[in-house]
Symmetry: C2
Subunit: 233 residues, 2 copies
């Protein structure tokens, strides 16, 4: 098929920008570097983007477009929400440097709107009213971004070869602290500097959030009922 040239070029430029962010951090995404990667002057990009901010917008949209929303099914709403959030996480995790761009841009592109729509839909199913659903949805999606950006043991990609060094350094600096002044920080130095398993870290992050939503949910919706022990799973 004869692909439309213009559209193709733009996508390829965005892919280059994202690859630069992955390899060398967001600071490496400059009009000059992206152009250079295509053997082209920085000004050539201005055919496809109004300004640099639009390149960053496009990176965020690209990430969101790779989210594969799970099929709707008949499981309870929070199980489905769990999977939606996990699907976002799995897309962001390989792109830690660019992930932060998503926080403020979810509602700015169709793929982000799809994600927001599904999230709001599940919260509506649960019975949340619109305002509360909006707050919860935005906090939920942004929390996934934050999990990726602050993953313990992450450092700048420039120092990628020395990730272990960075972890050891962080751990060492925390271990240096006075155990009288910061007993719990010192005790948790290992967990704060790195994490035993990335998968477990992310699983816990999603669980914490979903547990919060369920907690707020029962607070809001069981006023009529009597005080319950543990809500059914």
């Amino acid at each position: 098929m004869a692909s439309p040239r213009k559209r193709l070029d733009r996508d390829v430029l965005v892919a280059t920008a994202l690859a630069l962010a992955d390899a060398e951090g967001l600071a490496a995404v400059t009009t000059r570097r992206v152009g250079q990667e295509h053997g082209v002057s920085p000004m050539a990009l201005y055919r496809h983007f109004r300004d640099k901010d639009q390149i960053l917008d496009a990176i965020a949209e690209r990430l969101l477009s790779e989210v594969h929303l799970p099929e709707r099914d008949d499981r309870v709403w929070h199980a489905q929400l769990h999977d939606v959030l996990t699907s976002l996480l799995s897309v962001l995790r390989p792109h830690a440097a660019a992930a932060g761009l998503v926080t403020t841009r979810i509602l700015d592109s169709p793929p982000g709107l799809d994600l927001a729509e599904r999230t709001l839909e599940l919260l509506a199913t649960a019975g949340f009213e619109v305002e509360q659903a909006a707050e919860i949805a935005s906090q939920s999606l942004c929390s996934m971004v934050t999990l990726v950006v602050t993953e313990p043991g992450r450092s700048q990609p420039e120092a990628a070869e020395s990730r272990d060094d960075a972890v050891r350094g962080k751990q060492a600096s925390l271990a240096t602290l006075s155990p009288e002044q910061y007993p719990h920080v010192v005790a948790a130095a290992g967990a704060l500097a790195s994490c035993a398993s990335d998968d477990v870290y992310y699983a816990h992050g999603v669980e914490l959030l979903v547990a919060g939503i369920r907690g707020v949910h029962t607070e809001t919706h069981t006023e009529t009922l009597t005080e319950t022990q543990t809500p059914a799973v």
Copy 2:
């Protein structure tokens, strides 16, 4: 009192940098601008900071140093945690542009360590084991930052005079969407573009988080009632 000149100067430079961020956004914090505000060459800053990154570190530390940790009392752990998180929020809220600096720098300065220490202490009181407490603490503190950075209706401070315009614009663009494709987003347009009350927005944000921690807490600790002992991990 004759104040130590050097220390004073550094603090005053940090205050200037923070003020610039508040007034014109983080992009306005440049060595040249900060120097200019003191009628001094950009190079004069290098007596007090190794490089620009240290200026950003110092801004984060300054913000964290303004957190006033509530006194310990005999209320249940999650009530105290709620207040700790709220005290962080109240410091960050007036400095939305700079707040994001805090996410990756909490463990890099004494005031941040104080905050982390208290948080971990409360989670230890609750009975969380060290690794889980570390994860929860970091996710909790970072969530407060995220709440501030993504507060609905926020826009760049350059456009501060037209904040209402930005909100209206956002709302209008969401209202333009197809109600068939994005029914819940369209229905929530108002809440997504702005928020009825900032105070309520933040209160809900903290509540969601604390509810999550309590949810994970009961999940983790109801099983141990039968086992009597917490299994070491």
